[in-house]
Amino acid sequence: MESLSNKKKVLEQKPLNLAERMYLPAIARGLGTTISHFFKKSATIRYPEQQREFSLNWRGMHSLKRDEQGRERCTACGLCALSCPAEAITMIAAERKNDEKHLYREEKYASVYEINMLRCIFCGLCEEACPKEAIYLDGPIVPADYLRKDFIYGKDKLVEGPLDK
């Protein structure tokens, strides 16, 4: 059929000439190509010791943030759990006592906060939903583990360290 664009090129397959039929020049060229790679720098990153730099919008493990005075920002409103498409987040809210004012910023806080890392799809919707800027997915890669129960991360793993440290 006639080509409308007129861009089509018909390739002509010529019979091989003597040098091509001998294969040897082509093989020598191929060997040259492979040996040139022998001296190139390898692209390998030795993972546990050496880590690739994450991009700016990388979403990794969650961390629960503290405010300037080192108090937990989370007020256990549950918006993150509600927004989570994978239903990975659960929490139990508790009322702040008078002597805990230095620990929690709001009057209500999460006494238990759990994220199931096997369910989590790292979409970042919890981050977007949070009105208190309490949760961010700015951590490293979530490590592998052997048991399912060990993938349920509680506050011990999620809350970022005290500010003075």
Partner: protein
Amino acid sequence: MDINFVIEKFVLITILFAISLLIAMYSTYAERKVAAFLQDRLGPDRAGPFGILQPLADGVKMFMKEEIIPANANKWLFMVGPGLAMLCACIGTAVIPWGQDMVIGDRVIPLQVTDINVGLLYIFGVISLGVYGVMIGGWASNNKYSLLSAIRAASQNISYEIAMGLSIIALLLVSNSLSLKEIVEQQHGFNWNFWYQPLGFLIFMVCAFAETNRAPFDLPECEAELNGGYHMEYSSMKLGFYLFAEYINMFVSSTVMAALYFGGYNYPGMDYIAAQWGPTWAPLFGTFIFFMKIFAFIFFFMWVRWTIPRFRYDQLMNLGWKTLIPLAIANIIVTGIVIALTNNF
């Protein structure tokens, strides 16, 4: 025959056996490293510094694996297969001259297990016996892929042995001897057979690739078509033996190529070294040079493996029967004519 002779030979055989196994072991490591470097990777580097203990880890893994013999396999032949492959691979080194005669005190120690006058034929016999290990293993597995692979291996080896034998005949015309010791001695200094038989060497090398089932002639064990081929049903150290035998075969082939065409332990300036170092250490340096040549060939085997894709079966047969055999015959004729002319005029 005195007791020293027995001890001498025993030590030599033990060393050779150990070296063969060690080289086979580290060929697996080298193969992975070379493959990695040619593909811009690093290769195994976790076990020990630079992954140098990787072959030991692999060996331990092989031994620890469960041994499975298929229910319908011929049990006896199933066990003979890998043993035969290993045996044929290991006995090839017996006739290789590893160095000039070494003089310690007033004793002359030949660095060769035995200098039989048909050494070359012996090597050929051993190499062609090697295919029986593959054949028997493939047949005894009672598996169609294994059998297909065994048939491929047999037909491929037989086809390429012809061209290999013919290329050797031209070499024999030049050297006038079947004894490996004499052939190597004739290549004193830089007078290597390669300069007289470049085409013969090329044919021999291509055939050696085919005989050792190495890429691009690794049809008997292609993963994509035959699920690994003749050793598909094998597990544990039986599989290990097959893989090991292949690497020893590669070592022996490299050795034969280095000895026949690249002067074995001969190197330019060897007389000067011999005068300087005396008759005890100079032969050992020759042996060292020999091993460097062997390693270069082993590297070349690996280099080719990661460069050239596998042949199709009909291409393989075409190359063997329609190209290499006529070329080898032409090589014999030309060599014969040249020798007749130079001897008579």
